[in-house]
């Protein structure tokens, strides 16, 4: 599944230039349009298309982990024949944002986020109770990566 061919030149330029540094002004899309020598309508249409096709999940903030609330990476060892069912239970919690299968004995990995430690603990406890499977929690202790967005290679 390769969507890159479907991207317009403007969409690529937006991805190259605006994974960070989105203007924080009353008219951010008009400011971007001016910098890219297109119209505000072009920018908005391109962003809507990128969002509709799932190439971007949103235009907006990325928060520093732990700056706002509580979050943790978590993993479970799930019998393979139960994986879809257990994954559906985990995904049903609004606190869970990412939920992936990974190739390992720990085969289900998710990220859970809540306003407080207590709320987050409660969610993890409920997941254990509903699935009867232990949740291994791996909260971030230190961040070594400066997030500048992802460097795309178009060729």
């Amino acid at each position: 599944m390769d969507h890159r061919a479907e991207l317009t030149e403007l969409e690529r330029r937006l991805l190259d230039h605006y994974q960070r540094g989105l203007p924080v002004s009353a008219t951010p899309y008009a400011d971007m349009a001016k910098a890219l020598a297109v119209t505000e309508g072009d920018v908005i249409t391109a962003l809507q298309h990128l969002q509709a096709t799932g190439v971007i999940s949103r235009v907006g903030p990325v928060f520093r982990t732990h700056a706002v609330g509580a979050s943790t990476l978590a993993a479970m060892q799930v019998p393979s024949e139960q994986l879809e069912d257990i994954a559906a239970i985990v995904s049903s919690f609004s606190a869970v944002n990412h939920n992936y299968e990974r190739e390992h004995r720990f085969n289900l990995w998710f990220v859970a986020t809540a306003a407080t430690d207590a709320e987050l603990s409660d969610v993890l406890r409920k997941i254990e109770q509903l699935t009867n499977i232990k949740v291994m929690t791996l909260p971030m202790l230190e961040d070594y990566h400066i997030d500048l967005g992802f460097d795309l290679q178009w060729t």
Binding site: H3, R4, V24, Y29, P61, H66, T72, A87, A115, D147
Partner: protein, 184 residues
């Protein structure tokens, strides 16, 4: 996890004190800005404050480091990066910060965190994410990291992702607490 106690998810000193208005604003922008000519005016109306007040607070959250960046948040699979791996390393505790910074400098590493070990089942204390168009490309990048950071004798594991069951941005505040909190 321990059923009796509340676990601490991260260093509490990393938390910047946030006002009710900050929290309401975070709730209103966490899922993305509206794609309309005056996005902050829409948010201002929702929160019952002025557009310039919203912009001012977003700028403050950025300079306080609560917001790491503002921009397009990409989904790698949809961009043709079909091979995505979490690579985990069991490095000596004394070296984890130096090695973490070494890993975090590669342009193809999108996350690099220290996390706790969890006994013999999970001895790894350094995590990074690597995205590639195929597995071979990811494996090549892992070899490059091993060589550049001197990790030849460090046990590690490459966990390629399989099925994606859910992916969206973090929701720190629920929708219900979003609007109620602003009185200003």
């Amino acid at each position: 996890m321990d059923m009796k106690t509340t676990e601490h998810f991260g260093r509490s000193e990393a938390r910047v004190p946030l006002s009710d208005l900050d929290l309401a604003l975070i709730g209103a922008i966490q899922t993305g800005l509206p794609l309309v000519p005056r996005p902050y005016a829409v948010i201002a109306e929702r929160l019952g404050i002025t557009e310039s007040n919203v912009i001012e607070h977003v700028e403050q959250l950025q300079s306080a480091g609560v917001i790491k960046r503002m921009g397009l948040v990409v989904r790698h699979r949809e961009l043709g990066y079909g091979a995505n791996a979490m690579v985990v390393w069991d490095v000596p505790d004394a070296d984890v910060a130096d090695l973490g910074r070494c890993l975090g400098r590669f342009e193809f590493v999108t996350l690099c965190y220290r996390r706790p070990r969890k006994g013999p089942d999970w001895p790894y204390n350094l995590f990074c994410m690597i995205h590639g168009q195929d597995r071979e490309e990811v494996q090549g990048k892992v070899r490059q990291i091993v060589q550049c950071c001197g990790l030849e004798n460090i046990p590690h594991s490459v966990l390629f992702s399989g099925r994606r069951f859910k992916q969206r941005g973090a929701h720190y505040r629920d929708a219900a607490s979003r609007e109620a909190q602003v009185t200003a």
